[in-house]
């Protein structure tokens, strides 16, 4: 098997057995990048190759000296370009930050460095994570490795495409309404959105602060658990991170679902869902039932309000979060401004893309005097109802199983003219962010057009262990 196709835990075994060197692993990844990046465009920037190889050499020296490696030490990782690495560019795929170099490391980056992962580069995304297709990137779209004419999903499309194509072994994405899970589904990889508060957001350029979470995008469930082990945990720098004891998530990788109650929400299998997607999910449900899980139909009655609620809360927060990009201290500044307000207006008008502007305007509107109660406040109330839906459901079941997205990857350009249609791509993933609960997307089959289909498993807050156990079991059973 080719190194670039192997999951991290298998590469680790080969490294430890000295069957390959870390430098070989990195060179294979570079080779794959050389072959595929031209047509996929997963990355926005690469780290200096010499630096990367020097880090790999250090890992090899450690191995030579008989030192023990951390589980993901020496593993090549790609980082979504909205997380800060000190001294590297962080563009958020926006013209306004085209030349911005971060002066500090995000907490997740610090943790990855401590455990010896090797950063390859920063991946493409929808500008400021606004989108579901990675088409809203100032630097051009990413192409789906399974079909270059199709989108990889988004907003973490670059990270998902990099892992799917072997341009990286693992990657980090961020998920505000499905931005890890939906591209993972479209690219046939595993994407986990952890519980809100599980992973520090310090150093993640904020889109919607109350919804954003960083999570792993990997080739399989085992890697997902390994990577979550590294990045999760309380952080003094993030007041919304939660201080609870950290489990070893790999302990949950048990191929066993006997006695598990799994809920299937009726609201997720109605109009708009692709027949092939539905059939594939139902097949997996049958499979789980056959190996001992108890399947129960459940109801999440406020599902229909998810998208509207999400676009009120997320854009409101985004409108304030993006106010700092004003051309004063850093980032793009328009020339020839006669007044201060011209400096603001021109820099932002020229620096932000269309979707960013749409969301800033929407968010500003819902917070405005006279509209606040009707929109933002109501949005918060519905959010509570959606949370309550899940609380009710989790009294009956251990986990919830749904499709990740109603369709497989769509064609580039297919939905760019119709933002509402585009927003519907996240209809099954958004509720987890509103409720703050964890969710994973794992591949569960292919369409006739050979496009991957993703299955989503949701669990109560801090129930990642349940998710890993069910996902791992299903992954193993589907292989057979």
């Amino acid at each position: 098997m080719k190194i670039q196709e192997l999951p991290a835990h298998q590469i680790h075994k080969l490294l430890v057995k000295k069957e390959i060197s870390c430098q070989e692993v990195i060179r294979e990844i570079f080779k794959t990048i050389g072959e595929k990046e031209g047509e996929i465009h997963a990355y926005l920037s690469f780290r200096d190759r010499e630096k990367v190889l020097r880090e790999a050499k250090k890992v090899d020296e450690k191995l030579k000296n008989g030192e023990k490696l951390f589980p993901l030490e020496g593993i090549p990782i790609a980082i979504k370009d909205n997380m800060c690495i000190s001294g590297e560019k962080t563009t958020c795929a926006s013209k306004i930050l085209e030349n911005f170099i971060s002066p500090y490391d995000a907490t997740v980056i610090k943790r990855l460095k401590e455990k010896g992962l090797i950063f390859i580069g920063k991946t493409n995304m929808d500008e400021f994570a606004f989108g579901s297709s990675t088409e809203n990137s100032y630097f051009g779209p990413t192409h789906n490795p399974y079909d270059l004419e199709r989108v990889p999903g988004g907003s973490s499309g670059g990270s998902a495409a990099a892992v799917a194509s072997g341009e990286a072994t693992v990657a980090l994405g961020s998920d505000t309404g499905g931005s890890i899970r939906q591209p993972a589904a479209f690219c046939g990889v595993v994407g986990l959105k952890p519980t809100y508060g599980r992973v520090s957001r310090f150093g993640l350029v904020a889109f919607a602060s109350s919804l954003d979470q960083i999570g792993p995008i990997t080739k399989d469930v085992t890697d997902s658990a390994l990577l979550l082990n590294v990045i999760s945990g309380y952080d003094l720098m993030d007041s919304t991170s939660v201080n609870i004891t950290l489990p070893d998530f790999t302990k949950s990788l048990i191929p066993q679902v006997k006695g598990f109650k799994i809920g299937v929400p009726q609201e997720y299998f109605v109009s708009g869902i692709d027949r092939e997607v539905e059939a594939s999910i139902k097949k997996s449900i049958k499979l789980l039932e056959a190996i001992g899980a108890k399947i129960e139909e459940i109801t999440l009655p406020h599902t229909d309000y998810g998208i509207a609620t999400y676009y009120i809360i997320a854009t409101a927060e985004a409108s304030a979060n993006l106010a700092r990009f004003d051309g004063i201290r850093y980032g793009y500044r328009s020339k020839n401004n006669k007044t201060l307000s011209e400096l603001y207006e021109h820099s932002r008008a020229e620096g932000f893309g269309k979707e960013a502007k749409r969301r800033i305007i929407l968010g500003t509107y819902v917070l405005s005097a006279g509209y606040y109660n009707a929109y933002y406040l109501k949005g918060l109330k519905v959010r509570t109802l959606i949370k309550e839906d899940f609380n009710q459901a989790f009294r009956k079941v251990d986990a919830i199983l749904t499709p990740t997205s109603p369709t497989t990857a769509f064609k580039i350009g297919e939905k760019t003219d119709d933002p509402l249609k585009m927003y519907l791509a996240d209809v099954f993933t958004i509720s987890a962010n509103l409720a703050g609960i964890p969710g994973i997307s794992i591949p569960c089959g292919f369409s006739k057009e050979k496009l991957p289909i993703g299955l989503q498993i949701l669990a109560p807050a801090f129930g990642e262990e349940k998710i890993f156990q069910i996902a791992f079991t299903l992954e193993q059973s589907l292989k057979k």
Partner: protein, 473 residues
């Protein structure tokens, strides 16, 4: 017609924390521009605020001192507006759930209501170099904790407004919450003023007056604004609800260029900070610290310790100083002496070293020990002062310094007699002057003896010995 004036004040004070409200940057005043900054207070992409517990403590302390109700649940909010001194283009402030509400401040026999008090972050400072086409921003001040204290519109004259500010300053300085220096900007004040015909129940249209840089200018600006409004009404005109800027040089208020419409700050709950809920015990502890306010304590000092109004006032200007005094007294120091030593010897020394009383190496125990040594005649008052200086520098106790430096008074007369005889021999002219009746000549001789003994002799004793020896001549 007679008019009634109604004033409400909005006061911002910088809290005396070591670090900023949401990051670890220093709050030191007067440093080089943009040296007290970090990615967080500069609003770099990806940063998050973390609340400074010390700032919350000081805010709560103030709220207790202002008899406020501390809310069980308090939350921060984003106040959105664009300005280059505000890096995030929103200020983290409080809106619907402020830290404290419904308090009051005693102004003589009157109670002036406090509507609310809340925490927020300060902005940076814009600098406009002369004759240049650009402006510069200094972010050192950005993120320093501010407490906004909003009074009810219950002040009835410009003078009352000034009195309110003085009392507020007294309290906040006493509690070491803020140094309340309006010239340095650690206290800022905006005022709302309206007038109405005497007997009228409805409030008149108010204007907001800004840009005053001292308590006195608050009074002057409000007096001017009151007259302006009254004149306007008497001419049959109407007061516009607008913001007026005080021009200190000209002594007038002028309308700020009116914005086309009022600013909409689009407040919403700050999602990066979790709401605060306070532990009852923690609150109680803070409440106990502010049980007695400076005015009451001063009265008690005058009555119980027989201190002068001035001395009691200085001692109760800061809580730790008053505590220092009372601790020394409770350990056996005589109040009047203790007060004198603190005011004349200790405070100056602390000031010159930029130390607070809490940081003083010379403790109440040291002072009691020193006073006792003087009282027992073991050392003179003058030596006492030197010892204080030495304790201050070394942290050693007075007794151990006396031992080390052999500073006890020469009590054995043999040794002293030797010096006295010496001095008499060396100064025949002075002796003859003295004998001719020049009383002052004796003082000179005493001084010589003291000099030779490096101050270790008891002056009264020297006096006596000298007289005896001269008689023998």
């Amino acid at each position: 017609m007679k008019y009634e004036t109604i004033v409400g004040l909005e006061v911002h004070v910088q809290l005396l924390t070591n670090s900023k409200l949401f990051c670890n940057c220093s709050t030191k005043f007067g440093e080089k521009a943009n040296t007290q900054v970090c990615p967080i207070c500069l609003g770099m992409p990806g940063v998050l605020p973390v609340i400074n517990e010390q700032a919350v403590r000081l805010a709560i302390k103030s709220a207790f001192a202002l008899h406020c109700e501390i809310l069980k649940f308090t939350r921060f909010a984003r106040k959105n507006y664009f300005y280059p001194d505000l890096p995030k283009n929103y200020q983290i402030s409080q809106f619907e759930e402020p830290l404290a509400i419904n308090g009051y401040l005693n102004l003589g026999k009157k109670k002036i209501g406090i509507k609310r008090a809340h925490l927020e972050e300060d902005a940076g400072k814009l600098l406009h170099p002369e004759e240049e086409a650009y402006s510069l921003v200094d972010f050192n001040r950005c993120g320093i904790p501010l407490l906004e204290i909003v009074s009810q519109p219950e002040l009835k004259s410009p003078q009352e407004a000034e009195d309110y500010l003085n009392v507020l300053k007294l309290i906040l300085k006493y509690l070491e919450v803020s140094d309340c220096n309006m010239e340095e900007g650690s206290l800022r004040c905006d005022a709302n003023l309206s007038v109405r015909p005497q007997g009228e129940n409805n409030l008149g249209v108010k204007t907001e007056v800004k840009n005053m840089n001292s308590f006195k200018s608050v009074r002057k600006a409000l007096s001017y604004e009151r007259e302006r409004q009254i004149k306007l009404l008497e001419k049959g005109g109407k007061v516009n609800q607008e913001t007026m800027l005080w021009d200190e040089k000209k002594g007038i208020t002028l309308p700020m260029r009116s914005k086309e419409e009022s600013q909409d700050y689009r407040y919403f709950p700050e999602p990066d900070l979790i709401p605060l809920a306070f532990n009852e015990e923690w609150l109680k502890k803070i409440e106990q610290e502010v049980a007695e306010l400076p005015e009451t304590r001063k009265k008690r000092f005058i009555e119980n310790y027989f201190l002068s109004d001035y001395d009691a006032g200085v001692l109760t200007s800061q809580k730790p100083l008053a505590d220092y005094f009372e601790e020394t007294v409770s350990r056996g120091g005589k109040p009047k002496l203790v007060s004198n030593w603190i005011l004349t010897e200790l405070l100056g020394r602390l000031n010159s070293r930029h130390l607070t009383i809490g940081q003083s190496p010379f403790t109440p125990a040291h002072l009691v020990e020193l006073l006792k040594l003087i009282e027992e005649g073991k050392i003179s008052g003058k030596i006492g002062k030197d010892i204080l200086a030495k304790v201050f520098d070394s942290g050693k106790s007075p007794t151990s310094i006396i031992k080390e430096e052999k500073l006890t008074q020469i009590s054995g007369n043999a040794l002293l007699l030797k010096v006295v005889v010496e001095v008499i021999k060396e100064n025949p002219k002075t002796i003859s002057d003295y004998k001719k009746g020049k009383e002052r000549a004796l003082g000179f001789l005493v001084g010589m003896v003291m000099k030779k003994t490096k101050g270790r002799a008891n002056p009264a004793n020297v006096n006596k010995l000298l007289q005896e020896e001269i008689k023998k001549l």
